[in-house]
Symmetry: C2
Subunit: 495 residues, 2 copies
């Protein structure tokens, strides 16, 4: 896509530019207000060769925007904190809430291309990186985010000329480092890599606009024209009820899981007394396992889903009892707050994704999308149907990009056992706070939840991140199985 873009005729006189720019900026300002009112999030990506004018163009664009409604993200070398997270983490947490514009002056593309050029790619291959980026953009686009990507193109001669100009200016001379000259020398080497990246990520939901940036005025007007055209069209489409694409075929069901019989097929029928020494032993093994994961910088996600009162809390306590508290976090998931609701539903979880060598234990998770949100109607049918694929993609991306693992537990109890536990909680003053009206209401929808649970288990039981169903009518048996599953999963991770 980089070929045949540059043309000496792409040039605009300063006076013409200044005449045009004022009304254009006012128009974009008005569009921004309309986007805010329509609760549409927008991502604008500014990429390009060094010295192609990313800063200048960004400045022009933000000049027309109300600072209350946009965020500028400058993507530089990753920080310590970013280095130890999944590659896309730093971008996920910066995605805009509804009605807001997020500008990225350089983005995941620069980071990915730089990783590729330095052969420190975070995925096994260039193609892996492309899949990862396309997934990310599709997840956001499907959720309603408009993504507009610009690549500012200049040729090698022009780049050299600009570097030399900057070197002559004492204020910018120190910024033209030998490393930057190295990048210039590698221009021809980078060209096909960048071109390939752009080709392969030029999707319908997040198209590229390659801009001839040899003349800055021309480039800025092109950017403005593209922004105005795209945003006005989307505003119109949405006002007329048109959405990009939503209905997608449901994922096929994966390996079936025997949930309902989980409690009946217990192979260890043990009582508390027998279990306690086993749990003790496993906890010590868990501590050793954690130390190895930490040392080898392998991150692990453990997530618990299950019926109310199935014993998620008890399991988590038993797993973490001997673990070093500095190396793990328990993330109790409750209803999202207003800020969280205005983002993609992954956003609040990804924020808590573990650092290299750390363990994140989720007490409930993103599977809420296909459980409570589905049953209670908090999301549309299209949304929860799409979620199976989205979740599988997201989990695979975490595993591939970090070399870490995801362990998913479903805690199964019978309806009778739940009632027994609810009543116990009601009568025990130390446990009363654990039972609420919501729990009783959820119980009334037992059958609807069963349908949702079975579908979830069937469609998201992937090879790379399979579910473990644990029959939990017997609390202590469940705890033994749960820790056993964690230690044996980790053993495989460490192999």
């Amino acid at each position: 896509m980089l070929k045949n873009v540059l043309n000496p005729k792409n040039c605009i006189d300063k006076k013409v530019f200044e005449k045009k720019i004022v009304s254009i900026q006012e128009r974009l300002g008005a569009i921004q207000r309309a986007l805010r009112e329509a609760h549409i999030p927008v991502i604008i990506v500014m990429e390009g060769w060094d010295a192609a004018g990313i800063t200048h163009s960004t400045k022009e664009v933000i000049e027309s925007l109300d600072p209350r409604g946009f965020t500028l993200n400058t993507i530089m070398q990753p920080t310590d904190d970013e280095r130890v997270r999944p590659f896309m983490w730093r971008f996920w947490i910066r995605t805009p809430p509804k009605g807001r514009i997020a500008l990225f002056a350089r983005s995941w593309y620069s980071r990915a291309i730089s990783a590729e050029m330095q052969r420190t790619s975070w995925t096994k291959s260039l193609e892996g990186g492309i899949i990862s980026i396309n997934n990310f953009e599709q997840q956001l686009a499907d959720d309603g985010t408009i993504i507009i990507k610009f690549f500012l193109h200049i040729d090698k001669v022009e780049q050299k000329h600009r570097f030399e100009e900057r070197e002559k200016n004492p204020l910018s001379a120190w910024l033209v480092t030998p490393a930057l000259w190295n990048l210039h020398n590698a221009y021809d080497l980078s060209f096909p890599v960048i071109d390939h990246f752009i080709e392969e990520t030029n999707t319908a939901f997040a198209p590229w606009h390659v801009i001839d940036a040899t003349d800055q005025n021309f480039a800025v007007l092109e950017i403005y024209a593209t922004l105005i055209k795209t945003l006005e069209k989307t505003l119109n489409d949405r006002a007329n009820g048109k959405t990009i694409r939503h209905n997608e075929p449901l994922l096929p069901k994966k390996h079936p899981l025997k949930r309902k019989t989980a409690n009946r097929t217990q192979d260890i029928s043990c009582v508390k007394k027998e279990c306690i020494p086993i749990v003790d032993h496993l906890q010590e093994e868990m501590l050793r396992t954690q130390a190895l994961l930490y040392k080898r910088k392998i991150p692990l996600i453990i997530l618990y889903e299950g019926w109310d009162a199935a014993g998620k809390g008890g399991n988590i306590t038993r797993i973490s009892r001997h673990m070093n508290p500095r190396g793990y976090d328990v993330i109790p998931v409750i209803a999202p707050d207003a800020t969280e609701q205005s983002h993609h539903y992954f956003w609040r979880f990804i924020n808590y994704f573990p650092k290299a060598g750390h363990i994140a234990i989720f007490d409930r998770s993103w599977y809420g999308r296909v459980l409570v949100e589905r049953v209670e109607g908090y999301c549309t049918e299209c949304e929860w149907k799409r979620a199976y694929r989205e979740i599988n993609d997201m989990e695979a991306d975490f595993i591939y990009s970090t070399g870490g693992g995801i362990l998913k537990f479903w805690l199964e109890i019978s309806k009778e056992e739940q009632l027994k536990r609810f009543n116990q909680r009601k009568s025990d003053p130390l446990k009363q706070h654990k039972i609420t009206e919501d729990d009783w209401r959820n119980r009334e929808k037992w059958d609807q939840y069963e349908v949702a649970i079975d579908e979830m288990l069937a469609r998201t039981n992937t090879k790379i991140a399979p579910w473990t169903v644990i029959g939990s009518d017997d609390k202590w048996t469940a705890r033994v199985k749960s820790i056993e599953a964690v230690t044996s999963y980790c053993k495989k991770l460490l192999e």
Copy 2:
């Protein structure tokens, strides 16, 4: 405070410990729920010698807590992001919201002592660091946070013994680094520094508890006993309406500022045409200034307060027009959301404090406490009266700990001019969104605001962070003065 703490009798048998611990943990769990219901935030600091058992004690404490109600902050070496912010920034942003417990496994103390020992102190002196920490803790305590600080004490012989034990264990051997042995060798050198720090930060609002940690069981029970005693007492006191200390004498007024006559004493009575070239010239100077601040890593806060429609937005646009967008942020301050409201009122601002070499421009600021919050009764009289001292302390701390600057503008317009602008906004379709019902309501309280503004200017016009009052009835004059003030202030910063 470290002397005479260690005693060989401080020892508890394992069986006795296990008998006691269960009921104690249940009690702390119940206290946690009571704290949540009473909306009381708690900070627990775990400090101590290396290998004194900070991790072990932390693990014991969190075992009794509901993970939904606490956060564990592990303070290690500062990250890149933390290194370029004010020293206390990383701790401020981790302070707990109302009803939540924040545990710090190591804290500002370890970082400050380490900085002191390595002679890379972030303040000019040890005493500066102590003042800074006491300010921080007092700000939080006055806001209702309970602060409980533990120092786990062991002697040099015991420390050596523990290091050696860890070296024998293959899982922990790699963690006993030469650097750690260096710290052990410096035990006697560190002792007086730590002792002095503890003495000087042992305040009524955030007292220290030095614990003999030679026997782990003893230490854990001591920690629990202290937590339970302190927290139960506070719960009782608060339930009975007792608060720690609130009424403090108002700060004396500083240098008086002529606000009302600002518009009458304009020394440049210029019109738009005359001003534009001056502004152009100053903007270029601003770009040069920004480049120098960036290169020399000096952070700058510019904040704008002023009557509605006084022209804050216009001023900010003119200042930043030529600036590099990667080096500054505009932070538009609106009403706090629920999360922000559950924190200390500084919290949401400190989050946006500039990195080294960066500029943060606040469109409204923490002065809302003594303006809108005072006038509208969103905070108590005690709170806004205390705020003058709190704000002066906080600003001084930013300047001393970063070597940066704070520039505060008050934009003054006459009541007539405001009415004119309100009406203009109402009738201009491009500006209609800028005027709301709130603006008209605020205008009705003009006189009350005048009292609050004058008191704010009088009490927070410190030498280190003085106010600049700008007569803004003439927009362009105001813009010239505002940029002039910024560039000349920066020149002084760069001297």
